[in-house]
Subunit: 298 residues, 2 copies
């Protein structure tokens, strides 16, 4: 059996009881280790908690070495652990397909992921549109296809969840060229960097998918004891010190009810200003008001 088990967001005890029982019965335990990290538990703590050694699975192992992971999984139990949910931001459908093709039964143990826990900022999950990823810009690579997606979401009034880049096993170009397996320290995008990149692309494109005054919510360390939210405009948040990772951002859409705004005010430095910013931004992409049909004498 192949178990795909979500670990949730932060603590080692965020695993479900059913998930923990499964891990403890598995012969081999892999931890997917390139799209997210568990914030409040080290690898050693997890190994002690499970009573098992853990094999770290980088992108290469998952994408090209899945035979290793699936080895003997017809007769043994293998756990593949994923921070968040196994079908959250990064789906592991490929691994499941390969298992099924080899006749290996698969069981999924779901858990919270940023894709649903983001609801704790107070915005209804119902009114979120497509999710975008913001990658670190480099001198020569400043991808901005996400801009059109924000535009599409905002045109119909929906919020946009922005997932911020993390680099956990990155080689410098020099080390890569020389084939040296030396990795850079991990990097996690901050809220301010994300907002700066948003502002830069809006300035280049200039079609007002959003403006510097568009309200947003910074979500830091979601699900951990140090969790925090900050509500402000994109421009204000480009100056915000968001502290330790991980971070995500929600860009508001027009569909925002009073109760949601009231909840967000708790996270604003200047409540009255934030309320006014939300009201002003709701004018963007507003449908034309309904007008009664003109009466005629027919």
């Amino acid at each position: 059996m192949l178990y795909l088990i979500g670990l949730g967001l932060s603590y080692k005890s965020d695993i479900t009881v059913r998930g923990l029982e499964a891990v403890r019965n598995c012969q081999r335990v892999y931890l997917e280790h390139y799209t997210s990290i568990l914030m409040a538990a080290s690898l050693e703590e997890l190994e002690e908690y499970y009573g098992k050694p853990i094999i770290l699975a980088d992108r290469e192992l998952v994408e090209t070495g899945s035979d290793d992971i699936l080895r003997d999984a017809k007769k043994e139990d293998v756990a593949f652990l994923v921070v968040g949910d196994p079908f959250g931001a990064t789906t592991h459908t490929d691994l499941v397909l390969r298992a099924k093709k080899s006749g290996i039964p698969v069981e999924v143990v779901h858990n919270a992921s940023v894709m649903n826990a983001v609801g704790s900022c107070g915005l209804q999950l119902y009114t979120f549109g497509q999710t975008i990823s913001m990658v670190f810009f480099t001198e020569n690579w400043r991808p901005d296809s996400w801009y059109d997606k924000i535009m599409e979401n905002r045109k119909i009034g929906l919020h946009t969840l922005v997932l911020l880049d993390i680099k956990v096993k990155e080689q410098s170009i020099e080390n890569m060229a020389r084939g040296r397996l030396i990795y850079e320290p991990p990097r996690y995008m901050s809220i301010s960097q994300c907002c700066e990149q948003l502002l830069e692309i809006e300035e280049t494109r200039g079609t007002k998918a959003y403006t510097p005054a568009t309200p947003a919510v910074a979500i830091s360390r979601l699900g951990s004891a140090a969790q925090s939210f900050k509500a402000g405009t994109i421009e204000e948040l480009s100056q915000y010190d968001s502290g330790e990772p991980l971070h995500s951002l929600v860009i508001l859409g027009r569909q925002c009810h009073d109760l949601e705004v009231e909840y967000l005010l708790e996270f604003a430095d200047n409540k009255e200003k934030f309320r006014q910013d939300v009201i002003a931004d709701q004018e963007f992409f507003k449908p034309a008001p309904w007008t009664p049909p003109v009466e005629t004498d027919d």
Copy 2:
């Protein structure tokens, strides 16, 4: 302390280890009991598992009786349990706001909800648009504002998650009029009824937000041992016997990659037909192809 604790989707052991520890330490335990049900555990099993009596919280208690729930929560620990995640389909922001205003600290223990576990059908959560709710039509009440939302999602190629109505504490009009607290047996919408309502409104509106041939995925008993998926057109699924509750439906959008389609084929009765249905449906709302600018002799 007020704990809002997600129970996940199905088993009593779908609670997280951290959530279970919190429940066992609480003086009072409420279970929200009007928006969803835990499929594989009865109330008695949960009480035995937690070692605590459980107070069922219907809509009335949560919406108007929150003082009861929050009573003494400054000095005692109170658990409010929610199937799925506390900020999933139904958000409990109102209860959190009232707690905060009374100076009661709040801790949230997240869990999987249909809003993220739906990813296990193989469609990427990234490309879902706004979520809609399908209520039971009655003779005089056939609300269809969700139709415009499907249209908006599909215009930009996004999938639509449809949450199906459940009625767990419903009075007949006669019993309500006579003030008799007698409740009807619980009702859960089936996939076929949902698809019939979709077809009826499309026939009335006629603006092709979707057609009878639009592909969809029926998701039944998500997260339980009896979980099942069925891929087919809306018309095919209107004839589908989906079995025991709970059910949800995903109406596909145009943004569907080969790997996602391949995964869905596992759930189709006629794989080749389903693949062709997906290809045909992707023509709806397709952006015009890019054409090179015309060369001029300027």
